[in-house]
């Protein structure tokens, strides 16, 4: 009874969704197995396989290059290959009649009640045949004896429909296999180029940094994105250390911060000069609160995570180092990205120097007037590059502060996928603040068509919560198409004229 019901459901799903091949094959798989009684096992192994492959895909790009031999051509023969684990069918496809006969033979055995040693009833794994033989037979199976036989034409039509379905599915699988092969090839190519770039950066560029950093070749290579394992190094060099912070100085500020936390948690107050108790309390509390809200999906900065204390230290030391700026929300994201790419003291040095750049200083001091001037300069280039969208936003009253604040404060690390954000950081380190605003224009260009169709609230929601699947190549292609030129004026000229205009 139970079996019958599941058959019905599965069959229903299969016919209903047969356009979607993966679902189709999954149904086939389950069906095949259920006939031999091992449905639970197969479903759980299916989930495990999927989860593993998902994990694999997720982390593959993050770790260093691993070679996986491409599949041998024989494995790519179209067949009913369902998952990586199962070898593709290599025998020539059987025609449906043979399949039906085979199924009947099996069903007959099972039905006769005798448990033949070759056909155990409880479907132990080793006996599972993942070829969808039984399933195909199921569809063509003659009806139960208590129902009238199908008319010949109907049976024929069904058989024909079935053959078409199978042919269609095969075609799709072939296409899918080709797509996968192409994807793998792309990925290998990409990994090769990363490996090559790594060698060039390590052996040619980094040892001759000062001479080479501004050469055309280096700038071009830089634009492509830095290989992950030289990224931190290049960022550090590019950000520089005009504040002359040493690791020792970091230790001093860190121990000062620790002292404050200790005295604060012991006495609940502290007698020190400077900011009021309430301010300091909220700053200490706030860092704690915000660390858990920094990249929550990564689970590495949250309490108990590997980088929780590190992030706490860097932010704490900074508030002691720069009490005039203090801790401002958004900083935790910047510190976190640096910690992911640099050693603790180097991360601090890069962090302090980065926040000391004029644009960052204006934002993190929340100097509203100065921020408005940056937005005004941005609008000049917005109008120049994307006049239609600029007009559309003007009409719907969507001002750039609504989306730019989040983008600029966190240097896109909160709004773009982390790998894309890192690539933006790469070029930001090369080109400076101008690139932050150029990236903003690139995002607007990338989604221009969608945004033109949206009203105020939809655009605002869209821009403050960008799609999670932004592709970095597409985004960078859009950024390239946004020259930062207004007439013959560059970003620096336009922005400084804005700064002068209102007398600041």
């Amino acid at each position: 009874m139970k079996d019958q019901r599941s058959e019905k459901i599965l069959y229903g799903e299969m016919t209903q969704r047969n356009r979607n091949f993966p679902v189709f094959s999954v149904c086939l798989l389950i069906k095949t197995v259920s006939l031999t009684g091992g449905i639970n096992e197969s479903v759980s192994s299916l989930i495990i396989t999927n989860t593993l492959s998902w994990f694999f895909c997720l982390f593959r790009g993050l770790f260093s290059k691993k070679h996986i031999e491409p599949k041998s051509p024989s494995q790519n023969v179209p067949g009913w290959k369902l998952f990586g684990k199962v070898a593709a069918r290599e025998s020539p496809p059987k025609d449906s009649r043979t399949i039906q006969q085979e199924y009947e033979a099996r069903a007959g055995k099972a039905g006769s009640g005798g448990t033949s040693p070759t056909q155990p009833q409880h479907g132990r794994r080793k006996n599972l045949d993942f070829e969808p033989l039984s399933t195909t037979a199921l569809i063509l199976e003659d009806r139960p004896s208590n129902l009238p036989a199908k008319p010949v034409e109907e049976a024929q039509r069904h058989r024909q429909e079935y053959d078409e379905m199978v042919a269609e599915a095969k075609k799709r699988e072939l296409k899918e296999a080709q797509r996968k092969r192409k994807e793998m090839k792309e990925r290998f190519k990409q990994e090769d180029s990363i490996a090559n770039a790594m060698v060039v950066w390590n052996h040619d560029i980094l040892p001759n940094w000062d001479n080479m950093r501004n050469t055309r070749r280096v700038r071009e290579l830089w634009w492509q994105g830095l290989p992950p394992n030289v990224r931190g190094k290049v960022w550090s060099l590019a950000i520089g250390n005009e504040l002359n912070i040493t690791p020792e100085l970091y230790d001093i500020f860190l121990s000062r911060a620790k002292e404050r936390w200790r005295s604060f948690s012991e006495t609940g107050s502290e007698a020190d000069d400077g900011a009021s108790l309430a301010d300091r309390e909220s700053s200490l509390d706030l860092i704690k609160l915000d660390i858990s809200r920094t990249f929550p999906p990564l689970f590495i900065f949250q309490k108990g995570g590997p980088y929780h204390d590190l992030l706490h230290s860097v932010l704490g030391a900074y508030t002691c180092y720069r009490p005039d700026v203090g801790y401002v929300q958004g900083m935790s994201f910047i510190a976190a990205v640096l910690i992911l790419n640099l050693e603790e003291a180097d991360a601090f040095i890069a962090f302090a120097n980065l926040l000391n750049k004029p644009c960052q200083l204006a934002f993190f001091r929340v100097d509203h007037d100065l921020m408005l001037k940056y937005f005004a300069a941005f609008e000049v280039f917005f109008e120049e590059n994307l006049p239609r969208l600029f007009n559309h936003f003007q009409i719907s009253n969507l001002t750039p502060d609504l989306y730019l604040i989040d983008w600029i404060f966190t240097l896109y690390s909160k709004s773009l996928p982390l790998d894309v954000a890192c690539r933006v950081w790469d070029v930001f380190c090369r080109d400076g603040e101008e690139f932050l605003f150029r990236t903003g224009l690139g995002i607007l260009r990338l989604y221009e068509d969608v945004l033109l169709q949206m009203d105020f609230i939809h655009s605002a929601q869209f821009l403050t919560r960008l799609p999670e699947d932004i592709d970095s190549d597409r985004l960078f292609a859009c950024i390239v198409a946004m020259p930062m030129l207004n007439g013959n004026k560059k970003w620096s000229q336009v922005s400084s004229s804005k700064h002068k205009k209102t007398g600041k």
């Binding site: 929550p296 949250q302 929300q329 935790s332 966190t410 929601q461």
Partner: protein, 212 residues
């Protein structure tokens, strides 16, 4: 989607009191225990029905940190309603209400309806602010008051919808000049044809559903 009115709301209050979680619960009916922190402003929208009229709520969810006040101030303009949120488990968030209120009164339209919300009512064991204190503060300053839990969704619908009812009543009484968009109210395309399919005031009921 057609609506009779559009109301702009702003959600304000200290950082970490649950402003974004309240919004997410109201618009998406879900709770995220660890929400991203809000930098600048984020947005939400939902359609509700009051007195048989479709009303679109356009909600501005602001950053709570003190440093961002100068930015937040520019977002009051044109708001018809404000949700002023504190956390019942953190006394300091309650103590800061006066400065929030000063800000709100100073930078908004004088008719803006303000709803005081004591959030995290599910954390009774960690409560630091009594419900009576919230009620007293609201009474003293002429605000509506509710305790909510973005986690359990308790009173979340009510908080947003009761604020809209209050605004709606003010429109009926002619307090709001609906032709002046600086009041945070926009007349929608649907207004002329009164929609009577959904009658009665539908406070806590399922209204509108997801985002619109």
């Amino acid at each position: 989607m057609a609506y009779a009115y559009l109301f702009k709301y702003i959600i304000i209050g200290d950082t970490g009191v649950g402003k974004s979680c309240l919004l997410l619960q109201f618009t998406d009916k879900r709770f995220q225990p660890v929400h991203d922190l809000t930098i600048g402003v984020e947005f939400g929208a939902r359609m509700i029905t009051i007195d048989g009229k479709q009303i679109k709520l356009q909600i501005w969810d602001t950053a709570g940190q003190e440093s961002f006040r100068s930015i937040t101030r520019s977002y009051y303009r044109g708001a018809a309603g404000a949700l002023l949120v504190y956390d019942i488990t953190r006394r300091d968030t309650f103590n800061h209400l006066t400065t929030w209120l000063e800000d709100a009164r100073q930078h908004s339209n004088s008719n803006m309806v303000i709803m005081l919300i004591g959030n995290k009512s599910d954390l009774e064991s960690r409560r630091e602010v009594k419900k009576e204190e919230g009620e007293a503060f609201a009474r003293e300053h002429g605000l509506i008051f509710m305790e909510t839990s973005a986690k359990t969704a308790s009173n979340v619908e009510e908080a947003f919808i009761n604020t809209a009812k209050e605004i709606y009543e003010k429109i009926q009484e002619g307090v709001f000049d609906i032709n002046n968009e600086a009041n945070g109210i926009k007349i929608g395309p649907q207004h002329a044809t009164t929609n009577s399919t959904l009658s009665g005031s539908q406070g806590g009921q399922q209204a509108g559903g997801g985002c619109c």
